[in-house]
Symmetry: C3
Subunit: 252 residues, 3 copies
Amino acid sequence: GAVEVSVRSPVACWFSAMLHCFGGSVLSSLMLAEPPVAFLANGTNILLASSVWYLVFYCPQDRFCQCFAFLPLRLLVAGMKEVTRTWKITAGIAHANGHFKDAWLVMVAVGWARGAGGGLISNFEQLVRGVWKPETNELLKMSYPVKVTLIGAVLFTLQHSQYLPIARYNLMFLYTVFLVVSKVTMMLTRSATSPFAPIEAALGSMFFGLPKTPSKVKGEGATSSNDSSVSDRSSSEQHCDSTKKREAKKTE
Amino acid sequence: GAVEVSVRSPVACWFSAMLHCFGGSVLSSLMLAEPPVAFLANGTNILLASSVWYLVFYCPQDRFCQCFAFLPLRLLVAGMKEVTRTWKITAGIAHANGHFKDAWLVMVAVGWARGAGGGLISNFEQLVRGVWKPETNELLKMSYPVKVTLIGAVLFTLQHSQYLPIARYNLMFLYTVFLVVSKVTMMLTRSATSPFAPIEAALGSMFFGLPKTPSKVKGEGATSSNDSSVSDRSSSEQHCDSTKKREAKKTE
Amino acid sequence: GAVEVSVRSPVACWFSAMLHCFGGSVLSSLMLAEPPVAFLANGTNILLASSVWYLVFYCPQDRFCQCFAFLPLRLLVAGMKEVTRTWKITAGIAHANGHFKDAWLVMVAVGWARGAGGGLISNFEQLVRGVWKPETNELLKMSYPVKVTLIGAVLFTLQHSQYLPIARYNLMFLYTVFLVVSKVTMMLTRSATSPFAPIEAALGSMFFGLPKTPSKVKGEGATSSNDSSVSDRSSSEQHCDSTKKREAKKTE
């Protein structure tokens, strides 16, 4: 899909890529009624993301993608992306706290939106490319990055309200290490079973009376739709596309 | 639909319920460029709405729903919901007047959005649950609550601009009584024919040259899709869902 | 489509027409986090646009549309519409410059949104009428007015940053003359081949490595979906509708 769009309409392709990279800041700006175009004002980031986008899609003979198919490089980039996630969550929470003093739910929501924005607005990002899949979205079937960002947002909000007896930099360090380790493990083992699956099943059956087996089946189902960098993609185009997004995200 | 979603993804179900309950404040905040997450800052309301949501969907053996299937209790809750509608409309108009001095259309629009918000954004609320029905929306086929809220918004705006020679509290009292009486009548007679149907048909044929018969046919068609608490639902799940929404709305 | 909607639901039809006329200001307000209902505060414009809307859709025996089927009158109205486009672009750029000092991309984006807003949000305008076409949008397949507005926004931004050695009023004059001449030519020759087609093909093959022939085929394909006032419409209703939109747009 993505390659065809890039040939038919470079503008839509570029806009979709930008929405993927800067979705977090667009969504959190909308939620706090600030100009969602603010991300365009930072010329350096846009330039960096745009050049990565250009190299991925229009580099002759796909040289750029072939570089990033090299595993250690992919691990490095994926790790760096997870590090920025921590920064984005804490920035979102501090931002929300500036608007609404001590409103926990707002802090969690904005931190989550900032950290996982690209995933949460994926329905509208796909609409730009002419794809519309109303029957699913990241709230109905949360992918692993979205889940882990939600947990991070809750943790950092608790820390911010001083309910968690731990210093901020310690929590940031531990959370980032956890993110990077779980991401690298998932990439190396090519498995997509979330580390939270057993906890989720337990919570689900305790609070929501969910039967245990369907919950596990759902877990398997989610496997295939999980983060694209994990599963063993045969189609090199899709791989390229996900590489690009990861790389560009690094630039934020 | 709703029960299946609640089993598959409690997060999407909760978000959809919140969007239904607080849709009015989200929509009017967006229209006036204020943070749409402001409703999350009021912890008490969220807690109340969330506990009702939890009891409706996950109470063992559906005890909670069975309570609200008791008719007098349903009448009471429906009546209270209509009372809050009046408050919401006047709050919306006062709010809009603070931003745009004496702009009548803005006042009508914001008052309407605040009072009937859950209905107007129903397309997007359904999208959260993975349902997408582009061929209809509340503007194309207005339900009775949306219509009556529009009339209320026009009346209160006229009163605010002192075109209507009546005191504010008198108008509020009369409008609320009208809302409650018409709602209770509709629930008791299980009919869904809007009291405005003849007036609408007359206005339609006068200003828009509509043929009289199609307009009536449309009226019949709207019957089935009208406010869910009116029609005699056989499916108890749907009934439960609508009960929940009504109840939760009371909490606003 | 449009006539049927106007019979079934005048409210949705009116709202859709307003969204078409004032889409530019709604979109640019959203992008700069200002109240998107601000356009409703200008009573005169709304009144003018609404009366044109009323005359087009509900005038007995379609007298109003028949007037505008007269070619010289259509040319005049189309020309006036193009003149307002220049004003809207420069207003959008000045507005964006007030919020973000010297952020070029923001200026281009807001100027473009202001000038071509009705086209860019056409997906959502159609949704109000109950039509949903996710497989295409103005970014995937840009129509001529949207393209020419983008070029205008880039030119005026360059001029604003003093990269273009030309006075503002000269640029405005030249750009407006170009707009009007190209529009009138397209209306008279009933052709829809964009004057930019060869330049686009050259740029596409240079930067994006597009094969030359598919690009031309795309050009032909775009012909039929191009600006509705150009192609020789057989259906007089559609013609009426486009006339209305053009006329109403003049009122801004």
